[in-house]
Amino acid sequence: MELLINLTINGLATGMLIFLLAAGLTLIFGLMDVLNFAHGGLFAWGAYSGTWIYATTGSFVIGIIGAIITGLILGVATERWIIKPVYGNHIQQILITLGLMLVLSEMLKVVWGPNQISATAPSYLAGSWEIGNVIIIKYRAFIIVVGLLVFLAVQYILKNTKIGLIVRAGVMNKEMVQSLGINIQKVFMLVFMIGAGMAALGGVLLAPYSGVIYAEMGLEFAILAFIVVVIGGMGSFPGSILAAILVGLSGSFMAYYVPDLALAVNMLLMAAVLIFKPSGLFGLKG
């Protein structure tokens, strides 16, 4: 029983980190029809900038805020100068965002050096709680709580505000939203910024969880995030959290029970969804 609870907590924590990356990706994908392969780069920049700010200031909270601001700034710059000129052209989007991903990764090495950097959780989040025979690692519980809070906040905005309504409508029919007098370009930029901010938050939270950060981490996590987007359904925000939890849990359980299949299980899940429900579990398109 203790083992099951621990595997579940591990899976949920990993799932939440993937969710933070995938949530922005799915909204950008759904609303803007943009295949942003550079999203993982924003995640890695969040990890590096947040860890550096944390190390410099000694405050993990300031580190998190710094990472989010870095994500927002990079998000605006990416949308304005890289994505905007290639709206509507998927081939160009893939090429330019893959290129940007490489540039962002290499820039990390230029700024912080090519070696891995170790990261630790602040003392108040280090250690664990012991409840009966179950040991709950504090930092993992923290990631789960933060992930859930972000989900609830964004979900609230999507459901209860005019801008959220416009984003949901835009995912379904951009042309109609514009025909109703709404400047969708401004909405695009906002969504891209929020997506980038969430990715950067995911990155900085991952750092103490994995213990080390490295320039290529963005690409590795971006692959998982793309799998989550496919499973959850393009453009579906609730779909992204459920699929991320599914991917996190399946990875955690398989790594323990059938380690050889741990990496393959996500691909198998994605393949099953593509065969039986190509629009994803909660797909709004297709």
Binding site: Q178, L180, G181
Partner: protein, 236 residues
């Protein structure tokens, strides 16, 4: 003579490599219902999409209240006061009727609320299914929602693309009645294949053939010209 609200002069539009509109000229007078007629594929829908900037014109001029709007982005054209009801109705399927209306409403001031109340009285079905998802409405209800959404703001022109398409005759009648009532409050440009409907509502007509406007005049003239109807519309 009523003032000209919208004017298209030698408008040409390409979609990809296809030269769809090859010279569209027409004027819409304030307070009138102008009907665009023509066979399938003649360019009627593209004409409305070109006015909205969804398929931007490559040549010619489009003026609205004497202001050139040809190069403006779609949202800006809509903000000028043009409401658009597309052929596929453009309903946000996973939003409720209420949410569909709220996306469209630029503000929630008294005037907008009054217009909302007017349009809901015109289409009581929308009030009945206020909390229902747009995708679950019938074809006629979707059409009503699409028209209501275009009307709810202070738009002084509506572009309505084939409102009778795919609807049962009884529903067509209902939609037609409501457009007749709205005619008193706003200028309408209507694309319609159903000549009975078009001739009942319309004040003026333009016939589009192969991407060009080929005839125009008061609707009464077309009603009496069997030869023209047979030639361009395929009906006697």
């Amino acid at each position: 003579m009523m003032s000209v609200q919208l004017k298209l002069d030698q408008v040409e539009t390409y979609i990809g490599q296809y030269h769809i509109l090859q010279g569209i000229n027409f004027e819409v007078r304030k307070g009138e219902v102008t009907v665009l007629l023509g066979r399938n594929g003649a360019g009627k829908t593209t004409t409305l999409r070109t006015i909205m900037g969804l398929n931007p014109a490559s040549k010619g001029s489009i003026t609205y209240n004497n202001e050139e709007i040809k190069s403006l982005p779609t949202y800006h054209i809509a903000q000028k006061g043009i409401g658009y009801v597309p052929e596929d109705q453009g309903i946000f399927a996973q939003l409720t009727v209420e949410e569909n209306m709220k996306v469209a409403m630029k503000s929630e001031n008294d005037e907008t609320k009054e217009r909302l109340s007017y349009i809901l009285n015109l289409f009581p079905d929308l009030k009945k299914f206020w909390k229902k998802h747009g995708g679950l409405l019938s074809g006629g209800q979707k059409q009503m929602l699409s028209i209501a959404r275009a009307y709810v703001n202070d738009n002084d022109m509506l572009l309505i693309d084939e409102p009778s398409k795919g609807l049962a005759p009884i529903v067509v009648e209902k939609v037609m009645d409501s457009i007749m009532q709205m005619k008193e409050k706003t200028t309408i440009v209507l694309v319609e294949q159903n000549f009975m409907m078009a001739s009942t509502i319309g004040d003026r007509f333009y016939i589009i053939d192969d991407g060009r406007t080929v005839h125009d005049g008061p609707m009464n003239v077309l009603k009496e010209d069997d030869e023209m109807r047979r030639k361009y519309l395929g009906i006697a």
